[in-house]
Symmetry: C2
Subunit: 312 residues, 2 copies
């Protein structure tokens, strides 16, 4: 690690494409591997969270750590690190990578029960983390002109099966919907619930704006930290916001539609199922909230500085 | 590989605890790892199948390979190996391990899209396989006296979200149900669907027997190969069998209840939610079908011999 640390800020930094913490060691992300017998893989018995770093600062780090701890407890995992220990590991992943804008993920898996056992209570839970270059759900062109969204008939896994507020890797429905969207000329997808109402898409919550009022689905979705941020920003701007069922028809006839995600903040949607949303251009409410999201963040709102100095 | 091959049948065989095929190489199972950036892990974007070897013979190998290929196609994976290539890899895993009774798993993951991309179409799919010592869903005592089953209110992920006939690692609901069962003094769990009817449990289908008639849920379940085998055995015995909705009440008032799984064949259930099924003892229909299942298999039914000789 000493060598790597010494070159952390040079172009030859072996962690520049990402740094991971795995089984007590820091390794380049591309080398980070987990045992195929870990139930985190072969049963998707795992929880995770993603926080981002923007211009050298974590955004809402404590909120993400708190949600991660809640997810882990809800799925009966015992995290092998304290809050302070986790903070240190995430910081070190970012520091090693040298990345000023990063996508930082923490993961807890069930682990592997002893040979012959299929009892998850007998497994020692594992903890992984990594920092990778910041990932955008939408590329730059899409962010400028807005995304082409498809509303799929695929249903989001219901809360009665898997609790969506405990962040998990059950993306089979989302990926199935994504292929459905591609087949229909779309770029991303929103799924519905059993009643036909909107839920969420692969990695994002969804908001609709009509006559200056904002709404987002209240149930069957991840309680996104960026979603929470948007709710706070609406309050700050005096924009009325409802958490309630939102139908696909409401999205199609909205003035504006946007997505919220750690991987990109607020992302405008300008077509749904091939038809323009509003006049098909980026809308003023989305624009205003998006500007606020980034400008407040750059001013240090909910920020935690990363210490990039070499302590080796 | 030569060293290992040479000792394949001795006690020092490094593959004795399991052999895996990963990225073109054979390694001891405990050393087999997958990249944490593979969507097979971080999106559970993966399919698999499990076939078993009993007394040196695969059981229904072609049926498992066929289902695996169907699952892969349904999830838009491109398998990097032909049927013959896969057969060879699975055989080699078993041969290296020297195991006469083995649990053999094949896995296809989405892989990792290029840096910055979140488009699954841009990822190269990966193939893994391994042979491990035969795993029983129930231990010997449980097989002798019958399992204590709990029927949980947790709902199996519905087909409208994730197609259960395409074998997948979305076990969040099953694990949640399993903890529910443990909390209530049970050993394993069956989940219900949105209508409250029985579906399946962690790794098994479920059958009820009443007045000489057999029934098993028709929908929202994996179409298990052992389930199919039980259906064939019932026909052979002249036992009427229905594929239809089965309510929890029907299971509670059944004469006999049993589970079917590659990891153990037919497993009797003698209590449900703490109350005896029938008279609480193993029933004659379950006994008869279970005997047939093993005796026919040992006589070579649907069998494919493993060649354990060293070709190195």
């Amino acid at each position: 690690m000493t060598d790597a640390t010494a070159t952390a800020t040079t172009v030859t930094n072996p962690y520049a494409a990402g740094a991971a913490y795995i089984d007590g060691e820091y390794v380049p992300l591309a080398e980070a591997r987990i045992p195929i017998t870990d139930w985190g893989f072969i049963r998707s018995d795992v929880t995770y969270d993603v926080v981002h770093v923007w211009k050298g600062r974590f955004f809402r780090l404590e909120d993400h750590l708190e949600r991660f701890e809640r997810s882990a407890a809800g799925m009966r995992f015992t995290l092998p690190h304290s809050r302070a220990g986790q903070r240190e590991i995430l910081m070190e992943c970012v520091r090693l990578s040298g990345l000023r804008d990063a996508y930082v993920e923490m993961i807890c898996t069930r682990g592997t029960p002893p040979p012959g056992s299929r009892d998850p209570r007998q497994a020692r839970n594992r903890y992984f983390a990594f920092a990778a270059p910041f990932i955008w759900v939408a590329d730059e062109a899409q962010r400028m002109r807005g995304l082409h969204l498809v509303i799929s008939a695929v249903q989001r896994i219901p809360p009665e099966s898997v609790d969506p507020t405990l962040k998990n890797f059950h993306w089979g429905d989302l990926i199935r919907g994504l292929f459905d969207a591609y087949d229909r000329g779309g770029e991303t997808v929103a799924l519905v619930d059993g009643d036909g109402n909107l839920t969420e898409g692969p990695g994002f919550n969804i908001f609709v704006v009509k006559s200056g009022k904002v709404a987002t689905p209240h149930r069957g979705v991840l309680e996104g930290i960026t979603r929470r941020t948007v709710i706070e920003l609406c309050a700050e701007c005096g924009l009325p916001l409802d958490l309630r069922p939102v139908s696909p028809g409401e999205a199609r006839s909205a003035d504006e539609v946007f997505l919220s995600t750690t991987a990109g903040g607020l992302l405008p949607v300008t077509t749904i199922d091939g038809k323009p949303v509003g006049d098909g251009n980026l809308g003023p409410v989305t624009d205003r909230l998006r500007d606020l999201y980034w400008s407040k963040q750059e001013a240090g709102w909910h920020g935690t500085d990363v210490d990039y100095t070499d302590h080796a």
